[in-house]
């Protein structure tokens, strides 16, 4: 069986399975429903008080059709998260039927029924008593379809370069796609009106390759990293709900298994260039469990308290790989031994949340919330007295040449207190004041503790006509109580290298730095007339890292958006929207060279440089919906356009002294991408049961990114020293595609 035949077989399998489900469901329906199914509601025993129930004719339908595509359908970006094969397809399938007595039902829905792109949801049960749910989902993630891999795969995660790179003429195409295939099974039982019990099991398998960089010293080799993951999740929950109180308990377990433990490669890129072999650890197996206990109690008619306590665990104990793959290095006298066979990594989490909400009088309401999330890291801190930095490195770091390192079990606790007071002067508006406090306590980080105080006011107004105005402004200040830039020295029990420079004193890392943040947003929703409605919003979010001499200086984000819809006729509506977003980041750094790179070491203000990144994104959309000929013909049209551009400007802040190293600051070529999609759909109802649908879509995508273009056509030897980098060469995502489809829908 050739590839095409095999491909076709697997492609039809889901469709076959769905058709089987439809057939079985139809048989089920035939058993359950009299043949002379009238349009009138049919009495059912489901209504215990004599309420007649109608079977669900509108929920059972099948839509099959034929699709044709033209253009650059082989481009990875086009099929990034989808699969649109040409030919026959089952687009939508829905089946819903009920037994006339007892109310038992069977429900089936599916979409995108192709080989790699499938979503199925099935359920059966008796309303209010029990429910069994099943899901099946497939999701592709394609990163590249035109990459070239010069290495030959000799086993799971093993790649060998066959001979000299220069002698190679071309290389096989490497498809870099990961496919997720997951199923789920859930059971819900409601033994009585108070109890609710649920159990879910959902295994998922991920297979494929993704690009990943590897290094053996100064040689960079990008290889297809094998993805052979299995993840299994089990959830169980129980709930008791009474009119005044609710108690919930749940548990969740997740097991992750990676079938390939390491990525290995061998073969010299060029004679004389180091880095002929290497090994990298891939994601280790891990497990996670958590419990959650929640309760809610109505204290008074309006006051309610809700609490959740959720402990959890994350563990990992994968066996360590050896220091190096190189047998020559391993046989050297004094080769270090591992301090442990595995990490025995363990983290404990504890989330607590308490919420009190209620009313004080007719016009005032309040909310008070305290939340704590603690991550205790009980992973042992292992001391590696010496280690091999690179597989090909002939040297072994030892205590004498400060290579001794130990891992730091990073941990943190985050606490939040939110107080909100609302005043409703009338039925149409709400004014609010709020105060929030956030405290972070960290272990093994620069800012051991930081506090952020946030205050703000808001106003929400809505009249009976639907006009609404929402405004909110808030101001916050975050201050680290102490900032220790040398915390990382704890990782060097024998001290750092004599060449090493101390940490730059003025550096404040963005996630811990002192910050002043101003945020404001205003939204207006305006049903101007009965036929015209519009909405607009403006948001400004500005963070200034005032005390940072180096590092991030500010993050500024502004966005303006609006949309409008107009009812041209009772069954024809037009709509459009536009969004502009501008993001600006600034950072300041200093070019520093330690004594191993420059004698004497270079660390002066002459090496300071600053970079500003500016992103601007425009997004347009518009279209119409029309129902003509008494809605027998339903036409839709939509056009969407999104264009983003990123500019990175860099400049040296001062002229360095003569003979000093000057920062080679230069602007980067802009990164841009543009996506357009025009889609037209016309659905004509021939009868009440049969309808035809015609769809056409035109998609165009282009992107410009010098960083990727330099690595083309599909591989390259780049850098100052030729032959020190080899990339897979992911082609730039750029395509134009036309998609036509004609489908027939039948409502049972």
């Amino acid at each position: 069986m050739n590839r095409r035949q095999r491909h076709g077989t697997t492609r039809t399998f889901p469709s076959f399975l769905l058709a089987l489900c439809l057939l079985s469901g139809t048989v089920f329906a035939q058993l359950a429903v009299p043949n002379d199914r009238p349009p009138q509601p049919k009495p059912s025993a489901a209504g215990a008080n004599g309420v007649p129930l109608r079977l669900f004719p509108g929920w059972t339908f099948l839509e099959v059709g034929v699709r044709k595509t033209a253009g650059d359908t082989g481009v990875a970006k086009f099929s990034e998260y989808r699969d649109l094969p040409t030919g026959f397809f089952i687009r939508n399938l829905a089946l819903h039927t009920e037994l006339p007595r007892g109310g038992a039902y069977f429900d089936l829905q599916s979409r995108q029924n192709s080989e790699k792109d499938l979503n199925v949801l099935a359920g059966a049960g008796v309303p209010g008593q029990f429910k069994v749910t099943g899901t099946w989902s497939r999701l592709p993630h394609t990163e590249a379809t035109a990459g070239r891999n010069f290495y030959v795969r000799s086993g799971p995660g093993r790649f060998t370069l066959p001979g000299q790179f220069q002698a190679l003429q071309g290389a096989p195409v490497q498809n870099l796609t990961i496919e997720r295939n997951s199923v789920g099974l859930g059971v819900q039982v409601t033994p009585n009106e108070a109890w609710d019990l649920r159990l879910e099991y959902s295994p998922e398998r991920r297979t494929g390759f993704r690009p990943s960089g590897n290094t053996s010293g100064f040689t960079v080799v990008e290889l297809p990293e094998p993805v052979q993951y299995r993840t299994s999740s089990v959830k169980a929950s129980a709930e008791v709900a009474k009119p005044r109180w609710v108690v919930q308990a749940s548990s969740q377990s997740s097991l992750f298994h990676n079938e390939v433990k390491a990525l290995e490669w061998s073969g010299l890129l060029q004679p004389g260039v180091t880095g002929g072999a290497g090994r990298r650890a891939l994601a280790p197996d891990n497990t996670a469990q958590s419990f959650a206990f929640s309760g809610a109690l109505d204290l008074t008619q309006s006051a309610r308290i809700v609490a959740t306590v959720a402990p959890g665990w994350m563990r990992q104990n994968e066996a360590f790989l050896p220091f190096t793959i190189d047998p020559a290095t391993q046989s050297r006298p004094g080769f270090p031994s591992l301090p442990a066979a595995s990490l025995q990594g363990s983290k404990q989490t504890l989330m607590m949340n308490y919420l009190l909400s209620g009313k004080a009088g007719k016009q005032f309401a309040y909310t008070a919330r305290y939340r704590s999330y603690r991550l205790d890291n009980e992973t042992p801190s292992l001391r590696f007295s010496s280690y091999v930095p690179y597989d090909s490195s002939p040297s072994v770091f030892s205590e004498a040449s400060p290579g001794s390192r130990r891992n730091l079990p990073y941990a943190y606790t985050k606490q939040n207190l939110n107080l909100e007071w609302m005043w409703e002067p009338g039925k149409t508006s709400v004014a609010r004041w709020f105060y929030q406090w956030e405290a972070m306590d960290r272990t093994y980080r620069e800012a051991r503790r930081s506090n952020e105080h946030i205050g703000g006011v808001g106003w929400d107004w809505m009249n009976r006509g639907g006009w609404a105005l929402n405004a909110l402004i808030q101001h916050s200040r975050r201050r680290p109580e102490q900032y220790d830039p040398d915390y990382f020295l704890a990782s060097f029990p024998a001290g750092t290298s004599a060449f090493a420079l101390p940490q730059l004193r003025g550096l404040r890392r963005a996630d811990q730095a002192a910050r002043t943040r101003n945020y404001g947003t205003v939204t207006l929703q305006a049903p101007v007339t009965e036929t015209l409605s519009a909405s607009a919003a403006y948001t400004v979010d500005r963070s200034f890292f005032n005390e940072s001499g180096y590092g991030a200086l500010h993050d500024l984000n502004d966005s303006a958006t609006g949309d409008v819809s107009y009812l041209l006729a009772p069954s024809i509506s037009l709509f459009g929207d536009y969004t502009y977003e501008r993001i600006r980041y600034a950072l300041r750094s200093r070019q520093r060279l330690d004594a191993s790179l420059a004698v004497p070491a270079y660390d002066s203000a002459g090496g300071d440089w600053e970079s500003n990144v500016r992103d601007a994104v425009h997004t347009w959309g518009g279209g119409l919906n029309a129902g003509l000929f008494r809605n027998r013909l339903v036409a839709d049209l939509h056009y969407g356009f999104s264009e983003g551009e990123s500019l990175t400007a860099t400049k040296a802040l001062s002229r360095p002294a003569a003979g000093a190293f000057a920062p080679q600051a230069e602007d980067y070529p802009s990164v841009s991408n543009r996506f357009q999609r025009l889609a037209v759909s016309a659905k004509f109802a021939l009868t009440n049961s049969i309808s035809y649908r015609f769809e056409y879509a035109y998609e165009r995508y282009r992107a410009a990114d010098a960083a990727l273009e330099q690595a083309l056509p599909f591989s390259g030897l780049t850098g100052a020293g030729a032959g020190d980098a080899l990339f897979l060469g992911m082609a730039l995502p750029r395509y134009r595609v036309h998609i036509w489809s004609v489908s027939l829908g039948y409502v049972f």
Partner: protein, 318 residues
């Protein structure tokens, strides 16, 4: 229009006795007065309402509420239309519109009370005090009980995988969310995005709009735990960890969409250089034509940026 009232059913009387017993036991001493004060012992069957409200009746009769009618909790005297609209005795007798609960234009509290009577449990445990509730966004802003019965079909703008819920005002749940969250709507159209516009994920996969114990209405206990649901390989614990990664994925990623690859907020190397400036290559501004800029940038070598379990992976490169 006056309609003759039905006689109370026996089961409704039993329910009344049960209710009295519960009250006597003090369990329901402070239950909100969601039950109508008048006509409690007499129920108006939906067939009675149908005589005047045929269209509403038809949409209700095929809804989940009709299928659940009489099966779950709620005062047995209130079933059918009365379960939400309250006692209809006076309204039926007089025809006065003011004597029945009508939700159009009603205060948010009135609407919520009708829904929460049965639904303040499960995923709605944290509704009161949530971001939406405190802004007077009521249940009926997103849901409708009187909707033509049909399975939602994906539209031109937003595909969506099948969901169990059927009582949304729009065809897809994303359309519901994005009618207010306009910036998020725009971000989904960006080059680097999660598969929301393809319909593989929806907003409710990460957020619970009914309120949670977590900020931003996240479904899990933290941002990272939310991400680990799909990216379990990044969960660790790792021997060598990257602290900002272990603390918050959003330190580097923009979840709703970015113009940069891998949902990064800033393109490498500038993203990394916001923090790393001790010495050497990470402190250099780096010319554009450089292997440290090409392709994956810093991750060309430091590919284990989410954590490494290799004994020599301290620099997150092995």
């Amino acid at each position: 229009m006056r309609v003759p009232l039905p006689r109370p059913a026996r089961e409704q009387c039993w329910a009344g006795w049960l209710l009295c017993a519960l009250c006597a036991a003090g369990l329901n001493a402070q239950t909100p007065p969601s039950s109508p004060p008048r006509g409690e012992a007499v129920a108006i069957p939906p067939e009675t309402c149908r005589r005047c409200h045929q269209a509403y009746y038809e949409t209700w009769a095929v809804s989940t509420h009709a299928r659940m009618d009489g099966r779950l909790r709620g005062a047995p005297a209130q079933r059918g239309c009365e379960a939400c609209h309250g006692s209809g005795v006076d309204h039926v007798q007089s025809g006065d519109r003011a004597l029945i609960s009508r939700f159009t234009g009603s205060p948010a509290e009135t609407i919520e009370r009708a829904c929460l009577k049965c639904h303040e449990r499960g995923r709605r445990l944290y509704w009161r005090g949530s971001a939406h509730e405190s802004r007077n966004i009521t249940c009926t802003r997103c849901h409708t009980l009187h909707k033509k019965a049909e399975t939602p079909q994906p539209g031109l703008r937003y595909q969506e995988r099948p969901l169990e819920t059927r009582l949304l005002r729009k065809q897809t749940s994303m359309e519901i969310c994005l009618q207010c969250h306009l910036v998020q709507k725009a971000r989904l159209q960006r080059s680097s995005h999660m598969p929301l516009r393809e319909g593989k994920l929806t907003c409710v996969d990460c957020h619970n709009p009914h309120g949670t114990a977590t900020p931003k209405l996240l479904t899990e206990n933290s941002v990272n735990e939310n991400c680990y649901r799909c990216h379990a390989e990044k969960r660790g614990p790792f021997l060598w960890e990257h602290p900002p990664v272990a603390e918050d994925c959003l330190n580097c990623h923009e979840a709703h969409g970015s113009v940069h690859a891998a949902l990064l907020k800033v393109r490498p190397p500038r993203l990394c250089q916001r923090c790393h400036m001790r010495a050497g290559h990470s402190t250099l501004p780096q010319p554009a034509a450089n292997r440290l800029i090409y392709n994956l940038g810093c991750a060309n070598c430091h590919s284990q940026i989410h954590g490494s379990n290799h004994p020599s992976g301290v620099r997150l490169h092995r």
